[in-house]
């Protein structure tokens, strides 16, 4: 009987600790994402997909030539991404690009209520969650790189990922 009790206790501890174990995904020399152990991790052409039972997130480094196939945003990528989230920033862009940013903002569901932003040292984090589609987008603007993180799932997972972006 005592052995059975020990076995159950150890099993429960193992389950609890394995579920709360946090791994680190290194984004850059200064940033990382802490995430709970997923069901699986897949490496695509230029992305990393972290998959859980009922949600996932995907990290990709933004290539300014690839964001849209017909627009090369090289040198303008940070201004453009800020313009998706901020009307003031949009007004500084050429009109045709401001229209594109506005259209993207509409599609992402950007509103004052659905977005938030913060700084992590010198990195700027801009995020939006579309409750209708249950999709989140997080952009991290660093000096040398721009990261995009897609979240497919409920809002609590979006918040979880957003708050797990940390300085190393």
């Amino acid at each position: 009987m005592e052995n059975i009790f020990k076995f159950i206790t150890i099993s429960l501890l193992l389950i609890i600790t394995s579920n709360s174990f946090a791994d680190s995904l290194i984004l850059s020399a200064k940033l990382k994402i802490e995430y709970q152990t997923p069901q699986s991790i897949a490496h695509g052409t230029d992305n990393l997909i972290v998959k859980y039972k009922d949600w996932s997130f995907m990290h990709v480094l933004v290539d300014p030539k690839e964001l849209y196939q017909q627009i090369d945003l090289t040198g303008l990528e940070k201004d453009y991404i800020r313009a998706i989230f901020d009307v003031q920033a949009r007004s500084k862009l050429p009109k045709w690009l401001a229209i594109t940013a506005e259209e993207q903002a509409d599609v992402f569901g950007v509103t004052p209520q659905s977005t938030h932003g913060f700084m992590l040292d010198k990195a700027e984090v801009l995020a939006v969650y579309d409750a209708k589609d249950k999709k989140g987008q997080i952009f991290i603007l660093e000096e040398l790189a721009v990261h995009q993180i897609y979240i497919n799932g409920e809002i609590q997972h979006y918040h979880k990922v957003t708050h797990s972006i940390k300085e190393r």
Partner: protein
Amino acid sequence: MDMHERQDLNDFLVTLYGSRASKWPMNEQIFNLTYRLVAESGLCSGMMDFVPRPMPPGASPMRYLAKELRGIFLRTIRQNKRQYISCIKAVALKMKNDFDLAAQGY
């Protein structure tokens, strides 16, 4: 999908997403995502002509569309890909990870 339909779908997606799309499997899941992309963009009137409505909730467009209509849809988006890309690029960016997930078999 037959070989021609797969080629039409591949041509369209490569124009939209670049060479990464050439590595995606041209299967039912990718077709359904493409159909949803077109339906959700709602901006290209020429494309919307080929989106029959209403479709039962949760139905697979691949199975719901008659083969002939599916062929016309795919030929149309391939032949007009340059023109259509500009009006679906915002939805395409939002849905990019759906295609990546599907390509990985999720």
